[in-house]
């Protein structure tokens, strides 16, 4: 079995894992990051894309509020390409707690969160889609962040500093001896090969799957899995982030993301992070609740739902209560008599950098390395890894070149053949690190499949192109296409009324009525494809 060696092995390619890879790389420490699927395929890829100002937490957790404020400021300064600095509004509707509304400004002040009261008339001038029944409004410094660009840029920077990563590499065992992890065995789902890694220290940044990883080492982390579903609207409904002015609850945030808006979320406890998927019932619940602040949400066209899993660390097993109040858990498994093993989980996208910093501090302390964190000062370089996720960029590129031979393969999002070729070439140069399917990998790195057709047309066209290029052989391309469509379906099926129902009818007429694809090969098992986490939130225009 092939053996790789590294200083720090990071398990998990979400915001925390990639952020940690960059942090450690900046400190001169070589890392290998392994991810069982693809970058951001867990909660980091299935959230609101909200960069919290902190105002949401002023009542419940002022420390978290302050963290959000500080981290938001740092990211706006150092990673502007990932952020759409939209600003935000908190609005209340009749029936919301008048006490909460009255206390809001002073609670914000207590955590030094900028917050200004504005008149309801002014709020509706700023955001005409708001209900004419709102009774209070405050302006705050919320923003939208593209979590894909964020993680890809972090990873790209880490790689440029000498670290490495492997996607589609699933940890199968942690071998313990002499009070430490001696080696880690992994399975490469692309090549089907097993390999092992020897590292001085192993960091478990597997998010909702951190408990499963820890269990392989015989360590126990008491995690609660909270599945949250969100809805994507076809158009961007507001300029700003809109929050409901009440104690944090379900369905009270609408976040702009490029050309769309994201509405949610719900909170449903599940027993297995792999079983998170959005449901019809949740989609209805979100709309029924959120339309009070924006009536347009009742009639707007939704193009998709998706769900992510928040890993909530239960206090019972944590030796340090401070960790729980801070929203994330950094666990030194010295407590389980495994000296070179650390887990970082919980937390929020907004505070991912801080989580990485604290983790890296602990890693350095354990390795006896004296190196300071640099991510508070060093700007995050913009990479090209995530550029084709940006709405409109592909269309602009296509128009800009005016190459008559370059066809648009995805008409909803105007993704041309040359862009697909560019992505294929990029993936190709990554060798075996590509995703479990060429089509899925293209979907993760571009807007293909994100438009109203949800892959119905572009899936077929891109598949044909993959055959033309020799990227897929035999019935593999059609099998990948079925997988791709099955994955899109998870987020498509909860919102099938109105126009999406017509779209789904046409899609089935094409795939089943016309091409009998339901009868060819095996039905792909979407449940076995992991949590719902496709790249849903559009990348933002911050690079302009």
């Amino acid at each position: 079995m092939k053996t790789l060696s590294t200083t720090v092995l990071i398990i998990g390619g979400g915001a925390t894992g990639t952020g940690l890879a960059r942090d450690l790389s900046l400190r001169g420490i070589r890392c290998l990051l392994v991810e069982k699927r693809d970058i951001n395929s867990g909660a980091s890829g299935a959230n609101h894309g909200l960069l919290h100002s902190g105002a949401r937490y002023v009542a419940s957790d002022s420390e978290a509020a302050i963290e959000c404020r500080e981290e938001g400021e740092i990211l706006k300064r150092l990673a502007p390409q990932c952020i759409d600095d939209t600003g935000g509004l908190f609005v209340a509707v009749p029936g919301d707690s008048e006490q909460y509304i009255a206390d809001f400004e002073s609670m914000c002040a207590r955590s030094a969160i900028p917050c200004s009261p504005i008149s309801t008339v002014e709020a509706r001038e700023l955001e005409p889609s708001l209900s004419d029944r709102i009774i209070a409004a405050y302006s705050v410094e919320d923003a939208a962040v593209d979590p894909f660009m964020l993680s890809l840029d972090n990873l790209a920077h880490a790689v440029s500093l000498g670290s490495e990563f492997r996607c589609n590499a699933r940890v199968t065992n942690l071998h313990i001896s002499n009070g430490g992890i001696e080696r880690v065995t992994l399975h490469d789902d692309t090549t089907g090969e097993d390999f092992q890694v020897e590292a001085e220290l192993v960091v478990n940044a597997a998010g909702a799957w951190a408990g499963n990883i820890a269990a392989m080492a015989g360590a126990r982390i008491n995690l609660l899995y909270s599945s949250g579903s969100l809805l994507i609207t076809q158009n961007r409904l507001t300029t700003r982030v809109i929050n409901r002015l009440r104690k944090p609850a379900d369905s009270d945030i609408l976040v702009p993301g490029g050309t769309v808006s994201v509405l949610g979320t719900t909170s449903v406890t599940i027993d297995d992070p792999d079983k998170s998927r959005p449901t019809v019932e949740e989609a209805d619940r979100i709309i029924d609740d959120a339309r009070a602040m924006m009536p347009i949400l009742e009639t707007t066209r939704y193009i998709r739902a998706y769900a992510g899993v928040r890993p909530l660390v239960l206090a019972g097993d944590s030796s340090d209560a401070r960790n729980v109040s801070r929203g994330f858990s950094l666990i030194d498994h010295e407590r389980d008599n495994i000296g070179n093993f650390v887990t970082i989980t919980g937390g929020k996208l907004t505070t991912y950098r801080l989580m990485a910093e604290k983790t890296a501090d602990l890693v350095c302390a354990k390795l006896g390395i004296n190196a300071r964190c640099a991510t508070r000062e060093v700007p995050l370089p913009a990479s090209t890894m995530g550029r084709w996720t940006e709405p409109g960029l592909t269309a602009k590129t296509w128009l800009g070149t005016r190459d008559v031979h370059d066809q648009i393969l995805c008409e909803c999002e105007m993704v041309s053949r040359s862009v697909i070729d560019n992505i294929i070439d990029t993936i190709g140069s990554e060798g075996p690190n590509r995703g479990d399917s060429m089509l899925t990998a293209i979907g993760l790195r571009s807007r293909v499949g994100k438009g109203p057709c949800q892959g119905g047309f572009c899936g077929l066209r891109v598949t044909s192109h993959l055959y033309d290029r020799g990227c897929v052989q035999s019935d593999q391309g059609v099998a990948e296409l079925k997988n791709f469509i099955e994955r899109r379906w998870r987020g498509f099926s909860p919102i099938l009324w109105g126009l999406p129902a017509m779209q789904a009818d046409l899609q089935e007429a094409l795939y089943c009525g016309m091409m009998d694809m339901e009868l060819c090969g095996q039905r792909p098992d979407a449940d076995a494809l992991g949590a719902d986490s496709m790249q849903e939130i559009s990348a933002l225009g911050g690079r302009e």
């Binding site: 998927r277 449901t279 019809v280 019932e281 209805d284 709309i287 008559v404 031979h405 066809q407 648009i408 393969l409 053949r417 047309f457 077929l460 066209r461 598949t463 044909s464 192109h465 055959y467 033309d468 020799g470 897929v472 052989q473 035999s474 019935d475 391309g477 059609v478 079925k482 469509i485 099955e486 379906w489 998870r490 099926s493 099938l496 009324w497 109105g498 129902a501 017509m502 789904a504 009818d505 046409l506 089935e508 007429a509 094409l510 795939y511 089943c512 009525g513 016309m514 091409m515 009998d516 694809m517 339901e518 009868l519 060819c520 039905r523 792909p524 098992d525 979407a526």
Partner: protein, 426 residues
């Protein structure tokens, strides 16, 4: 009298397969017919006419004989539209339909008592009942696994000869593909434009020349369905003469030419039969007047006019055709408000897996009709004695999985017209 003042014998609502079939059959019986409807399912069609091929859907069992499959499906789904029709009538309806198409130079081929396997643009093989003559040689090539060349074109997206070869290579080793430039064109290509181009014999000659080298060792040549618009058989025959090979077409993804060819054929053939087509107009409102006649408000909001008819055939399709409307709280029939049989709640509409062989429960939803194809109200009573419904809007079938779309559309339309004609004669 202008076309808005005429009182029609039948108003056909819908311009898909069922609407076209109803209009055709009614016109052939001498009824004064008006037809409305926007671009419908026909425009997305492969041109194949499915009768019945898969049952039970959950087992994915293909049937050679569509007639045996119809017996089997009726036995298990007594509510299936075929159960109200009888095989003889279904056979007659299909034959009348294809005879009309043949009279308009769109000839269909097939076996009387069995389905024929044929290639799809994905490279899969499906079984269908009637196949355009221009595609027929492809069924022979597939059957014999004959040495065959698939030609595709730079600039025509969504059609890959290589994909078809890759999908079939285990079974069909002597299948190969070549990609060439389309004669006289560059950049992105669209089937309709290509079909026009290939109506020119000179362009066909150029095409034949460009593939001659690759076609030396084959017996058959397959093309994407772009070989001519109004008289594709002529183009296919010319290419056969030019290449000395058997030539066939494979449908393309929408936008394709196989659907528009059908529509154009109807447009050509129905006008001389006196049909009044309110094309691209939708029925906004339907009213049954005291004299028993229907008044339809057709057009677009703000620019709509009334049309009156003695009978109506609702052939408006399902969701894509707008015959059924899926609302967040349930499925409704928007024109007449006919009750729709459907799963109790939206969560039950779809299976969690798109490709699950069970299919989706919503597909069995639709309106209930009696043996005369008259829609029924919630109590099971005939809603209006001069209202009929044809095609996919009827409940208790899954045409996409059972492969019975054209058959249901044509045969239910046939039956509706038959009943109207009988009543007219009384």
């Amino acid at each position: 009298m202008n076309r808005y003042d005429t009182i029609y014998d039948v108003m056909v609502i819908g311009a898909g397969f069922a609407g076209m079939a109803a209009t055709l059959f009614a016109a052939e019986r001498g009824l004064k017919v008006a037809q409305t409807g926007a671009t419908g399912g026909i425009d997305f069609s492969t041109g194949f006419l499915d009768l019945m091929a898969v049952h039970p859907v959950a087992e994915g069992r293909y049937w050679d004989s569509p007639w045996d499959a119809i017996d089997a499906v009726i036995a298990e789904h007594p509510g299936h539209p075929y159960a109200r029709l009888g095989k003889d009538r279904i056979r007659t309806a299909m034959n009348d339909f294809t005879s009309f198409l043949q009279s308009q130079k769109l000839e269909y081929m097939g076996h009387e008592d069995r389905n024929t396997p044929i290639l799809t643009p994905a490279g899969t093989v499906k079984r269908t009942y009637r196949i355009p003559r221009t595609a027929w040689k492809g069924t022979e090539a597939l059957r014999d696994k004959a040495p065959t060349l698939i030609v595709d074109f730079n600039g025509l997206k969504g059609f890959s000869g290589r994909q078809i070869v890759e999908m079939q290579h285990k079974e069909w080793p002597r299948l190969k593909a070549v990609r060439v430039d389309f004669p006289g064109s560059f950049g992105e290509l669209y089937p309709e434009h290509m079909a026009w181009t290939l109506s020119s014999p000179d362009r066909c000659k150029e095409l034949a020349d460009s593939i001659a080298e690759h076609a030396k060792d084959v017996e058959y040549i397959g093309f994407p369905a772009v070989l001519g618009l109004n008289d594709p058989v002529r183009t296919v025959t010319l290419l056969e003469e030019l290449t000395g090979k058997h030539v066939f077409e494979i449908p393309t993804l929408p936008p394709s030419i196989t659907g528009p060819r059908l529509r154009a054929t109807f447009d050509r053939g129905l006008a001389p039969k006196g049909v009044c087509t309110f094309s691209q107009k939708m029925v906004l409102e339907a009213r049954r007047d005291e004299d028993g006649l229907f008044s339809f408000l057709i057009g677009v909001p703000g620019d709509a006019r009334t049309v009156r008819a003695k009978n109506a055939i609702l052939a408006s399709g399902r969701f894509f055709g707008k015959g059924l409307r899926a609302e967040r709280t349930g499925v409704v029939e928007p024109v007449f408000g006919i009750p729709v049989t459907q799963p109790e709640q939206r969560a039950d509409w779809h299976h969690p897996h798109f490709f699950d062989k069970q299919g989706h429960a919503i597909n069995m939803s639709g309106i209930e009709v009696n043996d005369s194809q008259q829609p029924l109200d919630a109590a099971g009573k005939v809603l209006h004695d001069n209202l009929y419904a044809a095609g996919a809007i009827q409940a208790h079938h899954d045409w996409m999985r059972m492969k019975c779309g054209a058959g249901i559309a044509i045969a239910t339309a046939y039956r509706a017209v038959e009943v109207i004609t009988e009543k007219n004669g009384e």
